[in-house]
Symmetry: C2
Subunit: 474 residues, 2 copies
């Protein structure tokens, strides 16, 4: 047999310095590290306990115990004849570590993405989590309330009332793993209750259509108008529920007017329909007077959905539903099996950030930064294409630039942008079917590019627009 | 109008000490706190900017900016005539904070529950998270790979190979939010692929039956035998997949023998069926030679599911699937809409604990403690009922005590236990239909009771058994 015998010298053991009772632990640790680092290869045989005990001036019992422990952990195997060897599967089959997704395009101006270096507040998060770990009762780490951690529901009910005009209580809130997960929970509940058709804004985010379709529900496209959606069309569609983005319609950026808000509530009351309010970027309002959630007008007919994906980071994976009282139990029941409540620790950490005003402070900082970016973007686009009409500027993290008004088309802009390595979202892809208007547009997200590069990136975009217009003239 | 005027004195402002540029921030903070704590009630009017600036010796612009910021945050409202007041919804409608679930029964010996004071390693978790926050690239906080964080898949593939004999790679792993979530993901995938019938051990955990039924799948009960499940019965059931607990069958505690393991693999190969291996407590093995996962015998036909719910805490909400290569994409596709990947930070923190051997060390500590508890439990039960037969003692966190062998019944034990405030799980509730054997039993979990109370609690259980036997004699 070609198996090598391992001597204590290979192990870089220095146990003399260890206190007597720590020697077994030190021996175990040293062996474990040697195996993990490959200094002790799978299959190699260890010295007998007698020999190693002699070499290291340990009692034989100490070595026996250490070997036994490592056998139990799977590092070593005991072979017939008391030979102890490194287990064959002690280190994994060589395999590449899993790869990170490919790096993003050089310039990514698609909406919905963030500059994570400045958005996710690592130090604040750690500080809050430390405070939570110091004080949270042990029971917090058990299987918890399916509605989510009480601390977070309490903190958010207060925060949403103050910051977004949401009328709710901790008992009416359900924590989810982000907007898409919350929407899927709601839709599943509606489907089990017999709902078949969901109204959706036209245009809207294609990914949301996929969530509705995935739940086996029918989609009724409802035209977006400049001050909201057409409630007449909603009425005629026969939809049982409708998903809307009142604070900052995606992708047009329109804000729903008071008149439309009231019409929408009246529709819900008249038809006993449900309004699902997607408040994805409501925290980012650059006017001084904030626009509250529609939910506050009629908490019995409106389910409000919010998320941390735009305010902290997508990977935080915490969102919330503020539900009509009659929907709380059905939502829990419909989603109780194989549920995916976010970790209690994340929930309590977020609660701490909210309760201590840290989230407010963080949002204030972001708001100032985004307002400057938006101003720079508007300035550059208008300079490049003086007749361009831009909507959605009062809020959120993206604008819609009407290319038709600028005198060019999506196709022309796309061909120049792609040559410059600039990724954009195009209005045309947001319609349910054939576009309801001939308008051509680009949806520009301004939250992704890191601040130092922002001026250059926006100038590049201006250049793209100029080049597209010039192509037009030729 | 009864609204009070607020003077700067009410605000406990002490700005003199602040550096000039921090004064606006200090003013904002003070106002926010006063509103949150109710010192400034909703509706109360603030001093004019001119008056407050004079009182505090600040520039008027500073006060104007601070008010504007608090208006934008929803704390204040600007009323006609430049009057600024505390917003009506600045503090939430009085409502009880959400309540924690009721405290557990005085003595809870049901299986599946942990003593969270000793199980969740708060300090280790925080240390690992600090290290992760210091070094993780910003891209880690973006929408990530739907399979889960690459760091965690890499760490777990190595760990599972070493500790559980699982043959997998990071590419074949999918991270989920715990066992139930992972099972639901798998079952949904199978259903979409046309699978209709799932074999389940009889007896098994009732909650798992609910997950299968919730996915609209049919259950084929497969009898548990002393060395596994009846593979003949599985064959005859026509099931397309089967859920098994080979390391420590729940609730009987049986370990699946090599013969049954091979039969099971042969069934999967012959019928192209899928074995779903639920390795819920495989880390806790008190024999020195660990029993590896069945998955290692045939990674193409066995989907392995593991979780942190028994090793760290249920609220960690991280589990994993090690999948046959052909199932990876279908699982991702079937669960991509409204998915609930755990937060990246939790995933990377767990990866750090695994990579640094901290999880191993933690498990070693737990294993020693649980082995002592198990020994004490066996001693006490055997003393109270000398003829009692107890299974499942080699591993896991529960045993099955056969009451028939002791000469009593579930009903008698239950009536005494309930009088003593002791919660137990009873074998009878674990059958799919009528019990397959007349055996009566209690399933005793020994991981929940905190260590200092354990001796007393187990003595109480011994007393219950004695009393039940005495009732028998009368």
């Amino acid at each position: 047999l070609s198996r090598s015998r391992t001597s204590s010298i290979d192990l870089h053991l220095d146990l003399a310095a260890s206190p007597a009772r720590g020697r077994r632990a030190a021996l175990e640790r040293t062996l474990r590290e040697a195996i993990r680092e490959g200094r002790l290869a799978p299959g190699s045989t260890l010295p007998s306990t007698r020999v190693l005990a002699g070499d290291l001036q340990l009692s034989r019992g100490t070595v026996v115990d250490a070997y036994a422990q490592l056998v139990a952990e799977g590092y070593l195997t005991a072979r017939p004849g008391s030979v102890t060897a490194v287990a064959d599967n002690a280190v994994p089959t060589p395999s590449q570590p899993a790869e990170r997704p490919a790096p993003v395009a050089r310039i990514d101006l698609r909406p919905g993405l963030l500059d994570l270096a400045s958005t996710f507040p690592r130090a604040e998060w750690l500080r809050a989590e430390r405070a939570v770990l110091r004080s949270a009762p042990d029971a917090s780490f058990d299987y918890g309330d399916l509605r989510g951690a009480p601390e977070l529901r309490t903190a958010l009910a207060a925060y949403l009332g103050r910051a977004r005009g949401v009328a709710t209580t901790p008992e009416r809130m359900v924590i989810c793993a982000g907007f898409s997960h919350g929407l899927a929970m709601l839709l599943r509940t509606l489907r089990l209750a017999g709902v078949r058709r969901i109204g959706m804004e036209d245009p809207c985010l294609p990914a949301h259509r996929a969530i509705v379709a995935d739940q086996g529900l029918e989609i009724a496209p409802i035209p977006v108008v400049a001050d909201g959606i057409s409630v007449d069309a909603l009425e005629q569609s026969g939809a049982d529920a409708v998903i809307v983005t009142p604070a900052h319609q995606y992708p047009t950026g329109f804000t729903m007017s008071s008149v439309r808000r009231i019409q929408l509530v009246q529709w819900a009351q008249r038809t006993r329909g449900l309004v699902i309010e997607d408040d994805y970027d409501g925290e980012f309002r650059y006017d001084r007077q904030p626009v509250g959630a529609v939910q506050g007008l009629d908490p019995e007919h409106i389910a409000y959905v919010g998320t941390t994906s735009k305010t902290l980071a997508p990977a935080v994976r915490i969102g919330w539903l503020a539900l009509p009282p009659a929907l709380v139990d059905p939502v829990i029941t419909a989603n109780q099996h194989g549920s995916a409540v976010p970790p209690a620790l994340s929930q309590m950490t977020l609660a701490h950030l909210v309760d201590n005003g840290r989230l407010d402070r963080h949002l204030r900082r972001l708001r100032l930064n985004y307002r400057q970016r938006r101003d720079m973007l508007l300035h550059t686009l208008t300079e490049a294409a003086p007749t361009i009409s831009i909507t959605g500027i009062a809020a959120g993290l993206h604008v819609l630039a009407d290319l038709s008004s600028a005198g060019t088309t999506e196709e022309r802009v796309r061909s120049v942008a792609e040559r410059h390595g600039i990724k954009l979202a195009y209005l045309t892809s947001h319609w349910h079917g054939p576009p309801a208007t001939p308008m051509q547009g680009i949806v520009v997200g301004y939250a992704r590019t890191p601040s130092p590069a922002f001026v250059d990136v926006i100038n590049d975009l201006g250049g793209v627009l100029r080049a597209a217009l010039a192509a037009n003239d030729r």
